[in-house]
Every structure is written in C-alpha cells, then in structure tokens.
Symmetry: C2
C-alpha cells in the first residue's frame, strides 16, 4: 500500500469493519428470511459469528458503539413517528401495570438465583437489576417489519417500555448507591422525579408544540425542513434523556411521537428516516452479537448459571408482563409478555456499569451478557408466531410489510 495513505488507513480499517458488519448482517438476514425466521436474529448471530468469540474479524470499538447507539436511537425515532401520543395515553394504565410487574418479578427472581449461586449481596442486586431492563428496540423492529406497530398490544409494549426504563433507572440508582456505601434518598427522589417529569412533559406537550409550529417549519428555506427538524429533535431529546438519566431511546421515541401527527402524510420524510434506520440498525444488532464472549464458558458451572439466568429472565418477564395485562385475551397477554423479553443493549449496559463499579465479577458479567444476547435471540421467533395475523400459516411471507408501509422493490 502506498505510503501516502498513512492518513486514511485508520478510516479505511473502520470502513472495512462497517462493510464486513453490514454484509454479514444482510447475508444472515437473507438466510433467516428464507428459513422463515426473524431477520433480527440472523443479524445478531452475524455479530456472534464475526465477533471476537468466533471468527474475530471485527472487534467492538468506541466508533462501532456510537454508530450502534445512533442506530437504535433512529429505530425508536422511527417507531415514534408511527405512534400518535393519544394511542399511548389510551393504554396508559395497563402499560404501567405491565411495566411495574415486568420489573418486579425479574428483579426479585434474579436477586435470589444469584444469591443461591453464591454471589454477594451487591452482586446479586446488580444481577437482578440487569434482568429488569427491556430492550424494546428488538420487539419494535420485529413488529415494525410485520406492520403491526399500531396493534393495541404493540402500543402497550411501547408504553410499558418507557415505564420499564424509568423503573430500571430507579432500581439501578438504588443498587449503585448501596454498592457505593449508602443510598441518598434525596438524590434518588431527585433522579426519579427528573426522569418522570421529563418523560411526562415531553410526552404530553411535545406533540402540541410541533403541531403548532408545523406551519412555520413548512416555510423554512432549508431543504426537507421536517426531516431536518426531526433529526435535530431526535438527537436533542436523546441527549437530554441521557442527562436526565433515562435511555437515549426514550428521548428518541418521544421525539418521533411529538412529530407523528404533524408528519403523518409526509411519506418522503418517513422514507428518508427509514433510510437512516436501515443503514444504522444492522450495526446495532451486530454489535449486540459481538458482545458475546463465549470463551468464559469453558467452566460448565458458568454455562449452567448463564442458561438458568436466561430461563429465569424469559419466564419472569413473560409472566410479570403477561399478568400486568390481566383481563385481556390470553393471546394478547402472551404477546405483551413475549414482547418485553429481549434485554439486548440495555441489559449489557447495566452489566457494564456493574463491572465499571467493580461490584460484579467477570463470570457473572459474562453470564449477564449471555442472558442479554440470548433473550434477544429467543424472543423474536415467538413474537412472529404470536403476532401473526389470521389463523392460516402464521409464518407466511406477507408479514414483510415495513415500518413505513412501503417496499423498495422495483415494480
């Protein structure tokens, strides 16, 4: 390679990584679609395959991590664009029930299984906390791909995910406090209040503000004013929600929801947003798969714990959230239960926080990572089956309808 390239070799390596990730993800997506399995599972497995555990072609890095985060942020923004605030408010009470029960059961069960396995008090609390966090991006991706984001149960899942995230923040603050030698109840109350006030305020007021501003936005001279404003709002509220303490995706979802009514008929904007999502979401999915570290599983007791933790994570979330939807049809309860199962990147982040604070050992960390990735792989096939419309073959290919109700296929 010519010497003159010194300056761009660094970027070339990153672009090569992105190329490998995208190509692997899409190859696996194609394979899984042909096997009538969810594409997301294929894309996550692509990450396991090319990641450090197996082929070692690509390693997680800060840059991949930020692209993955922007990917899931835009995924939730896109979901928000399809979700009018009213649709969430209507199911508000039920979403709260689903969120609360779906947090309590996994936390308690996670805590006790860890204690039984010999983990310390603080370690067990952290493992419990890691079991709480739902990664709604995965479910939203599958349901969006099926064109079912407007289903009543899908709305309950979206609402419950917001509640879930706020409760997760409170539990994590609590557990972190304990691990650092004491809880500041005033600080905790402040954290909780900030998260709740921010979410409620943006959720309630955002849409009205955008609807009011719509005529002015339309008159802007810069190209594609709604899309441009959407990008800025999405990034802005994502950052704001991190500073408030909740996940960036909550802010992105609220940003999308705020613009849902004003841009309902704006198909071009939806398509452009879909372009960003389709480009970046594969990095999010592959990055989850790459987190899996299979080398620590040489010890069989670690394998057993990891599998057990995964089972408990699946069962308690399924039952907890399902019970939260008590009174609905059994199929709907199951839909909500399974939709909340994936822990994905949120579970990984909690485990990383525990590792960073030095309160969780490397094998428990590996088990939590396994649980986060495994729950994310297990749920989508069941989501597809349980949400399949009609009574004929639930796997039939018509479910490929896309988030913004369009195909890119020619003709």
């Amino acid at each position: 390679m010519p010497i003159v390239l010194a300056a761009s070799v660094e970027n070339a390596r990153i672009l090569l990584d992105l190329f490998i990730m995208l190509a692997a993800a899409k190859l696996m997506a194609e394979v899984f679609e042909r096997l009538k399995q969810p594409a997301v599972v294929g894309e996550i497995l692509a990450g396991v395959l090319i990641g450090p555990s197996l082929l070692g072609w690509v390693a997680p890095s800060a840059i991949i991590n930020i692209l993955a985060e922007i990917g899931v942020i835009f995924l939730l923004f896109n979901v928000g664009l399809e979700t009018k605030p009213q649709a969430i408010f209507q199911v508000g009470k039920r979403a709260v029930m689903v969120g609360v029960l779906g947090v309590l059961l996994p936390f308690v069960a996670g805590y006790f299984i860890a204690v039984a396995w010999g983990a310390s008090f603080v370690e067990s609390m952290f493992i419990g906390a890691a079991l709480v966090a739902t990664s709604v991006g995965i479910t939203a991706r599958v349901l969006g791909g099926m064109g079912l984001l407007d289903a009543p149960t899908a709305r309950i899942i979206l609402g419950a995910a917001v509640i879930d995230d706020i409760l997760g923040l409170i539990i994590l603050s609590l557990v972190s406090g304990v691990s650092q030698g004491g809880i500041s109840y005033a600080g905790l109350a402040k954290t909780a209040a900030a998260a709740i006030v921010f979410t409620a305020f943006v959720g309630l007021v955002g849409s009205r503000v955008i609807n009011r501003l719509a005529p002015f936005i339309q008159r802007l001279r810069l190209g594609r004013p709604f899309f441009t404003l959407g990008l800025i709002l999405c990034l802005g509220l994502s950052v704001a929600s991190i500073y408030v303490g909740v996940a960036a995706i909550i802010g992105a979802f609220l940003a999308g929801m705020a613009m849902a009514e004003a841009t309902e008929e704006n198909h071009k904007m939806h398509r452009m947003t879909t372009g960003v999502t389709e480009f970046l979401v594969p990095f999010f999915l592959v990055n989850i798969g790459m987190q899996l570290n299979l080398s620590v599983f040489s010890d069989s007791s670690v394998i057993i714990f990891a599998v057990l933790l995964t089972l408990i994570a699946v069962v308690t979330k399924f039952i907890g959230c399902g019970l939260g939807a008590f009174g609905m049809q059994k199929r709907e309860m199951a839909q909500i239960g399974i939709g909340m199962v994936p822990r994905g990147e949120v579970g990984i982040v909690v485990a990383q926080i525990g590792l960073g604070l030095g309160v969780i050992g490397p094998t428990f960390f590996a088990s939590v990572l396994f649980m986060a990735v495994a729950t994310t792989l297990i749920a989508p096939p069941f989501i597809k089956v349980l949400f399949a419309r009609g009574n004929d073959d639930p796997m039939k290919p018509e479910i490929e309808i896309d988030i913004s109700d369009e195909f890119s296929r020619i003709g």
Copy 2:
C-alpha cells in the same frame, strides 16, 4: 448526574457534539438560504463558528471524522446514482483534458510560490500537491441542490474529478517518495496502474454486472434489497478504492454509477439514500470548517501567504480546468473551471500527510488548511451564479430542486 450513567456519559458527549453540529449547520443553512447564498457555505461556516477557532463548543475527533467521511461517501454515492456511465464516457476525452490541465497548473504554481516564500524543496512539492486535489463533493452538493447534475458541464466536472484524484495520487506518491529519500519508479508505476485499472474496470463493468444481477436482487427476501445492496456496495468499493490508493469517494461514486441504470425508477431507494446523505453530510461540511485554525494567523506574513496561496489555488484551477474545456462556450468553460475550485477535505488530507511525514512546517500547514477551507467557501456562490438557468435573475429560488427531485415539504 446519577452515578449509574458512567457508562453512557461518553456516548452522551458525542451525541451532544452531533446535536450541536447538526443544529448549527442547519441554522446557518437557513440563514444563508434567506440571504440567497449557498447553504453549504453556511454549514462550513457553522463549523468555523462552533469549532476550536472561535466558540470551541465542539472539537474535531476520530468519531466526527469517520461520520464526516461516511457523509461525503454517501454524497458521492448519491451523485453516482444520478449518473449513468454512458453520460461520463461521452465526455471522457474532455474530462481527461480538464483533469490534466487542472492538476498541472496548480501544482507548478503552488510549488513556485512556496519556493519564493522560502519553503524547502520537499515542502514546496507538498504545497504544490495540496493545490492539486479537488473536492468534488462540494460542487456536487451545490449542483445537486440546483437539480443540475445532468448538465453536460456537471458530467465533465464529475469525470475530471476522477482523473484529478488519480493524478493527485500519482503526484502525492512521487512527492512522498522524494521526501523519504528516493522514488521507486516500479512502485510508482504499480500504484498508478492499480488506481487506473481499478477505476476503469469498475466504471466499465460495474453497471453491466448490476444490470445483469437486478432480477436476482429483486427476488431477495430481505427488505429493500436494492437499497441494502447499494449500502454494501458503496462501503465495499469505498474501502477498495482506499486500498488501491484513490479516495473513498471515487469508489462510492463508482458504486452509485454502477447502480444508476438498475435503480433509475426506484424512487424509494433514492429517497432512503437521500435520508442517509442528509443526515451525515452536515457533519462532513461542519468538520471542514472546524479544521480551520485561526490562531496561527497572528503573524501577518502567514496571513499574506495564506491569502496568496488561496488566490493562486482559485486562479490556476479555474484557468487550468477552463482551458481543458477549450472549444466549448465561454460560460461553460467558466462553469467547469469554478466547479473544480473547492479543495475541501482532499486538500486537508494532503496537508495532514505532509505534517505526518514531517516535511511541512506548522505555518505552511495552517496556510494549506486555510486555502482548502477558503476555496471551498469561495466557489459555491460563483457556481450558483454561473450555473443558474435562463437569463433572468440567476438567484431566483426555483434552484432549490433537490438531488432526487423531491421535496420533503408537506403539501
């Protein structure tokens, strides 16, 4: 901020940077549109404003750099999608003439002005080389915004930019060889041959391969097969071209051109690509502006040299490329000349290579950076005027027609 956020604070800072960059870019774009000036100039100036030189809100970083590079890559991919190979081949000879003369004049002039200013032989060679590199992204952005990418002179500019890049590589290899104590003519020939063969092969064969594969692509099960394949091809050829020695944008442009015929009627794909471009190009533009380091200009002789270098860069490129189009109308010659003036990120990269090799001092480096940014700011208003259609007011607002011939505006 709650302790639990430790893990996401890093990402939060980056997301905040991106938010500031995007918001500043679009605010300035709006202001410049209202002043009937090119939006790109506003977006670059936004970078000067928020960058280290003035407000210091955002500093260049590896992550911003890669996002900027992906941005300009997709910009050229998008331009390629609008460009059928035949359209470039038709103007091939003229593009070669424009490319060659547009390289020779600035190189020679840059070399001599640097020698006159007391720079060493190698340093002067590098400054000459930095004056060679045209950043076609800026011109493509302005012409795309005017809906004029299909103008004959626009095609000549695109073709000449490819020639320009290959010649720039050869000159840079030569100069680097000299600076490292000797030229390997065999190595140089190999570098040049690889670049020429790669570009010619992909340019000639790419489109036919994609056209042949189109029916198979259409039958893929994964969502949005053409868009997905486009993303993969764009990244893949960008990486390949860096390894071959030419700029990533050349590969991206060839990737787009390869898909131009097969996806001509695929408006959804074009819109999704536009979504990616619109999201990422502002980072490319703001990043150029942020490179400007005004603090070294406390010395008035540095200012004088930087301004002189800029003037020479503008004049020699304008005359060289204009002469290359000899025989066309004067207005067309001027269009081609001015379209090749911006040096942008390519000039910056050459200067950085020189700095990295230790053959260019900090004040000459600063002057080259100034030249790269200044030529990029100077050209767009003239491009707008010279390309304005019709004989009435050349600044009339109808020129806002967009790359993929669409508005995101409601109604």
